[in-house]
Symmetry: C2
Subunit: 246 residues, 2 copies
Amino acid sequence: MPAEVNVEKVKNIKSLLAIQSEVESSNKIALSVDCVIFGFDENKLKVLLIRSDLKKYLGKWSLLGDLVSPGEDLDAAAYRILKQRTGLSDVYLEQVHTFGSVNRHPAGRVVTVTYCSLINIQHHKLNILDNELHWHDIKNVTDLAFDHQQIFDNCYRRLQKRIQEHPLGLNLLPKKFSLRDLQNLYEAILDTKMDRRNFRKKFFSMDFLIDIDEMEQDVPHRPGKLYKFNYEKYEKKKKKWVGIDF
Amino acid sequence: MPAEVNVEKVKNIKSLLAIQSEVESSNKIALSVDCVIFGFDENKLKVLLIRSDLKKYLGKWSLLGDLVSPGEDLDAAAYRILKQRTGLSDVYLEQVHTFGSVNRHPAGRVVTVTYCSLINIQHHKLNILDNELHWHDIKNVTDLAFDHQQIFDNCYRRLQKRIQEHPLGLNLLPKKFSLRDLQNLYEAILDTKMDRRNFRKKFFSMDFLIDIDEMEQDVPHRPGKLYKFNYEKYEKKKKKWVGIDF
DNA sequence: GAATTAATGTGTTAGTTTTACACATTAATT
DNA sequence: AATTAATGTGTAAAACTAACACATTAATTC
């Protein structure tokens, strides 16, 4: 919705107006999906944004979204947006929250279901056709169009929490990664520094890393070992009980 | 939606048909809110359900819900449903997930935003006017109407997780409670037994319990002390960093 | 090829948290 | 007065977390 309306649809502004009148005149509720797409590059957490074309938000950045089609499931809509924008299917995607303030969208009542997605930038270099589509360092994400800042903040906080309880962060890394990569990822997402030895000890003790007996290539220093994540083992071991703590 | 449609609206079946044709004919998406309302009574976790009137789900139980009005925010719709059904305002309410499978509702495309609510049954004895509205022991909740079983399971799992990280469970207890009450609550929600000494130690060490210097009344054994929860202190201390663990 | 650089790889200790576990005390009831 | 059914309390072992330093390796520079 918001995002996508501004993006593709607005190139022919007719369709925006159509949506607007449709929504306003009939007092119907329109439904959209917005995706917060995270990537990891140069040891920085990035988010994929596109320029808003809506007059009200001219020049501002917004998330990627589109209206949900009548016969389309919500998750399917989110996957469609991802596929359209990144060319990637088979990516991590998770519904986060639904925003429905009456006045959140200038075109009328548009309720949006938001999704968080994690994609591996290096693996599949994505063809960013639209040159108004860019990766932004999350540290510089401010003042987005619509209520997208709120949506982004919400997703980012969720990511920070989830990454501590599940190995989803690995979706942002190549299949083979070094422990340094992994730590850089956690440090970027959690915006904190960690002790290298304790970080390693922690991950080794979880015992989900497979030593593939390869080394980093082309690093200007002693190369580190590469690992894969043992998803199979993780799925079996998944813990349920964590204990009361607040 | 689902629930509420079947509930109040269906008494005059006209309105259901109106919704149905509206949704089907125009291919529009209707939006509803469903609430999973938890209570705690006789040391059992309960959920508030109502009988479905829809032919397809005759005799089955369903969650409480209603369509979102054009000028109504999502949270407002959830609060409205709660107020209508329980007479309570000022209750704990949290959005959980949005379900939008194309065929989840027989009347057409209805996307529903689900909420989890925790209310204190003893404090405000609620006037259950509708005699098809009942508290169900969550252990006996199976085979709900629509996709409500899925929605319920989802909310319950969320509650189990959240209660370990936040003091929301206290919304299910009276303002003054004994440590035994508290432990019974956790045991009911998490469906587990805990060591009484360690449970006490844990809560005392968190240091959020206020000893109000009162004792239980009318118990057929040695009465325990009563406590209040120090929300003020909790709000100040809230922890952010938990650490990687999966 | 020797020296330098910048990273990897590894262990120990102190402190904290979690778990497992048993007995004296109290108020109500018989 | 005796019984019952709960409350209230402490300790020791085990597991986990946090803090902290030095030898090793490969690439690069001189």
